[in-house]
């Protein structure tokens, strides 16, 4: 591993650390953990909720000093993402860091604390007709820090990119107690290394995000959605590529498909009403072979509907080249048919999406996941298991291959977190 396994902390050192933490963040912001605080099969001892970035940094320093492994937590909506941690004594919650520090609406930027929910941020920005152009999962509960740590995104990325294209500044608390800023409050800035991007998607393994700065976009004047039903995967892919190859500017190009229904494509246009209408017309011209259907209610939130826990299921994220979407659908059919697995998928045309597989037979689920991952990775894509029965996590690596850059990633981890206290084992390649 890139980091040396921690020795067991001595009892006296741990007791002293709990006492120091209690003093630093206040008695009322530290408690013993409960069953719902468990992360996979690891139940930490304590949960603390620091109230300032400085408290986060100091708490981390105290924990590191006593060799306590720390699991950062925001809205706790995605705690089951990643491999099971190699241990964890302390949950550090950013729940109390919930301020929108500044909405510089004239400059179209916002500074926000990590524990602020996405919805709270959007409501604040909407006062001045602006938004963070992102549509992550569970916006009412998910926090900015957690969304960043997991690099979550949704349909809007077709037009506005993902978090790496929207974040312009970050404050990170490191295990040694350093509170470091990178980037800034201006959209255009090349001074120093781009740590906002490094932290995005790092699953809390390098430091704890305490604050982030984003570039914003105006709320759309008008929005129109068009849904189409298409005969088969080949025609679906051809349509998606044709839309990308013409000069329209959709803010959503989404594919929905599953074992129970043929592929459907949703398109969204935003802007002036005349612009929206003209593009809708143009789309119908291109999609002459498709059948227009009524868009389901809340169709742009379809990606969050794959997560119900009703049945034994797996939800994974996949990425691929846009031109491989059709053959990927065929691969899913091929892999699931003989094993009688039900599946549903919501994909964005940039080549990222979520796939849900259902079966009580975890062996069959693993067989399908491995077959699909192999096909995707062979073409430069990936498959990451996000939610699954514990049995599956114990048998497979949820991340898949990190390629020949894994050693470099481990070096980065070793520099930022030499003692390996942050989220040990949950990230790619055992980081």
């Amino acid at each position: 591993m890139g980091t040396r396994p921690l020795p067991h902390p001595s009892i006296a050192a741990v007791e002293a650390a709990w006492s120091d933490l209690r003093t630093r963040v206040g008695e009322e912001h530290m408690r013993a953990s409960m069953m719902e605080d468990a992360v996979d099969d690891v139940l930490p001892h304590m949960v603390i909720e620091p109230g300032t970035p400085e408290e986060v940094a100091d708490a981390l320093k105290i924990a590191t000093g006593a060799r306590l492994k720390v699991i950062p937590r925001g809205g706790a909506t995605k705690m089951d993402w990643g491999n099971p941690p190699r241990g964890g004594e302390l949950i550090l919650s950013t729940r109390r860091l919930k301020r929108v520090v500044e909405h510089a609406w004239g400059d179209m930027t916002a500074t926000v604390e990590a524990g602020c929910t996405f919805q709270q941020l959007q409501e604040t920005l909407a006062v001045h007709g602006q938004r963070l152009a992102l549509d992550p999962l569970w916006p009412e509960r998910a926090t900015i820090g957690g969304i960043l740590a997991t690099n979550d995104s949704g349909p809007l990325r077709v037009r506005f990119g993902s978090l790496r294209d929207l974040i312009i500044g970050i404050t990170l608390a490191l295990p040694d107690g350093t509170l470091a800023k990178s980037g800034g409050k201006v959209v255009k800035n090349v001074a120093g290394y781009d740590l906002p991007k490094l932290a995005t998607g790092s699953l809390g393994t390098l430091g704890i995000i305490t604050q982030a700065i984003f570039r914003l976009h105006p709320l759309p004047r008008e929005s129109r959605t068009l849904s189409l039903s298409i005969s088969d995967s080949g025609n679906m892919n051809a349509l998606v590529l044709a839309i990308q190859d013409c000069n329209m500017v959709p803010t959503g190009v989404q594919v929905r498909a599953g074992s129970a229904a043929g592929p459907e494509v949703d398109l969204r246009f935003e802007g002036t009403s005349s612009g929206c209408e003209a593009q809708m017309e143009q789309t119908l011209g291109i999609a002459s072979g498709a059948r227009r259907i009524e868009s389901p209610a809340d169709v742009w939130n379809a990606h969050s509907e794959l997560w119900s826990r009703a049945e034994a299921s797996v939800v994974c994220k996949f990425s691929l080249l846009p031109a491989d979407l059709g053959t990927f659908l065929d691969s899913i059919v091929e892999a699931t048919e003989s094993l009688h697995l039900a599946w549903r998928l919501v994909a964005q045309a940039v080549g990222a999406g979520y796939l849900r597989l259902e079966s009580k037979d975890s062996g069959a689920l693993i067989t399908v996941l491995e077959a699909l991952r192999k096909k995707l990775e062979a073409r430069g894509g990936s498959l990451v298991i996000l939610r699954c029965p514990h049995e599956i996590k114990s048998k497979t690596d949820v991340w898949g291959s990190a390629g020949d850059a894994l050693a470099l990633m481990k070096s980065i981890k070793a520099q930022f977190d030499p003692a390996g206290v942050l989220n040990p084992g949950r990230f790619v390649g055992g980081i």
């Binding site: 890139g2 001074a191 290394y193 329209m248 209408e277 691929l320 940039v350 050693a407 790619v428």
Partner: protein, 481 residues
Amino acid sequence: MEPRILGQFRAIVGKGLITETSELHTYECDGLTNLRALPQAVLLPTSTSEVQAIVRICQREKIPFVARGSGTGLSGGALPVDKGVVISLARMNRILEVDLPNARVVAEPGVVNADVTQRVAPHGYFFAPDPSSQSVCSIGGNVAENSGGAHCLKYGFTTTHVLALEVVLPDGSIVHLGSRAVDRPGYDLPGIFVGSEGTLGIATKVVLRIVKKPAVIQTLLAAFNSTTEAGAAVSGIIGAGMLPAAIEMMDNLAIQAAEASVHAGYPNCGGLLLVELDGPAAEVEHLMEQVGEICTQCGAWEIRVAQSEAERAVVWKGRKAAFAAMGRISPNYIVQDGVIPRTALPKVLGDIERMSAAEGLRVANVFHAGDGNLHPLVLYDGRIAGQEERAMELSINILRLCVKYGGSITGEHGVGEEKKMMMGEMFAEPDLETMQLVRCAFDPEHLSNPGKVFPRTRLCAERTGPYQPHPLEVAGVAQFF
């Protein structure tokens, strides 16, 4: 340099090894010509394996190296380093693959920026980053500097358009960062590599994203009495919820220079605005009317809208030539690159005017106004004793002003050698130390473009704490279990 090592270099690149002093002078500086240093040798590899072989020798012999593209950088990023060699990627200039269905292009680092667009233009695509030097600057240089350009307000910077890279690390290993598909699991290594100014290794292949050309592009030119009025129009446009492809502003001195140089036909005014809108025809026409109204309300007394490619080229000609045009009105000048929150523009311009008057030096202003990126051009006469120093001082004070208003010391030119001492004005010591952790992971021996970007070099072994990784472990050669 020892003949033994030169012999080894020659065995790799043959005639692509330059050691003659007269020829080495070509490589003694980049676009920032007041900083010069002669390299020990210049190598011109033609393949990834040649780059790797060169870097392996550098690693073994502890020879620092500086990667160089077209040498158009404006911050001394490609300035040779003491006892080091320059590795020029100019001969690795092939476009290896064009994948239109996925909108990807795979290019070697020496490919010229504009050649990417030229290659895909027949299919209606373009490569969005458009630095003013795009007809000569290289993709590798764009990657190093995270280059922007007039159109990054809407389309983003180089980092937005780089999906993956093949990189030769300073230890001589080859790694692949990112992937052709989005969201590769793991740290965003392309994100950290792009803009690292050659300090983390050498990119030998780059997977670029290309963008479909918009249906319609229109450029509006508006003449105002002052930059304050023009600035108010910019605020009005952004406030109306529009995201133009570009908003550029020039002050009177910059206009005079552009006119003297390329006769762009600009009105002689106090503040000139270029606003470019692109997108679906119905949308652009509707919004352009609004832009015109906003400009008129803010005091514009002449408005022209360029619609054809030829008309647009004329409108842009003066702006794109603005830096070089300064030579027409001043014997010498310093190009500066700072960023401010856009709303601070009137205050900052007022301050620059006062500072300029106090120093008795003229400052011409050209900005990417939409994103607050200023390019003040400090004019001086190098023949007059002391004037160059005063001009330098003034240009640095303008950067300090940017930082004071919450901005940045560089929006697109990079820190390089020129601005590394300014980093401490923008960032606190812990911020800079933390950034350098990345350097320690990629290049613990500081061989790749050493001494640039940061005012002080962090010694990678000095990290205190409970655990220090062994250098072999850092290099991925050995692991602890």
